[in-house]
Assembly symmetry: C2
Homo-oligomer: 100 residues x 2
């Protein structure tokens, strides 16, 4: 786990927002439902993209950034990729701050 890369990933307003949106999907994604949401695999790219107001390509890249540093997990199901918070990494981040 590269500290600098982790902080870089967090040093962006939209990526931080995504992380908090994913904390309670039901609350942040109105039509969150089994079609492309629900269960516990996470939320698909399209929902996140619409909410962010940025383009599809940008959000896809942001999600891949968050995934690369381990802050979210990605699960492909059919044509959708569901992204979900990786609480383990986030917790590790907390203890990382302590060692700062």
């Amino acid at each position: 786990m590269d500290q600098v890369e982790l902080f870089k990933a967090l040093a962006n307003k939209t990526r931080l927002q995504i992380l908090t949106w994913l904390k309670s999907p039901e609350e942040h994604f109105p039509d969150y439902e089994p079609a492309c949401g629900s269960t516990d695999v996470g939320v698909c790219v399209g929902y996140i993209q619409k909410k962010s107001g940025l383009t599809q390509s940008t959000i896809s890249e942001y999600l891949s950034t968050l995934h690369r540093v381990g802050l979210v997990s990605a699960t492909r199901v059919g044509q959708w990729t569901y992204y979900k918070r990786n609480e383990e990494t986030i917790a590790t981040l907390g203890s990382l701050i302590d060692t700062l």
Copy 2:
């Protein structure tokens, strides 16, 4: 306290190192002493600069970045500016991670 700015400040190898160096100055700065070190105001710019291997202007700017976001305090004494960790902000950062 702007989260994004805080993470940006931490998203740099040298700035992270400075923060850990300042955690135990006696250990990281060989000739740390009253002349330009010691007491508890912190460590002067020159020491940090030499240890980092980067130029004076770069380190001065990095320290001002860390100061701007509140991660360190700065105390001018004569021709020296002493920088010291601001444990309060760092602790706040820890709880900020929890709210992530």
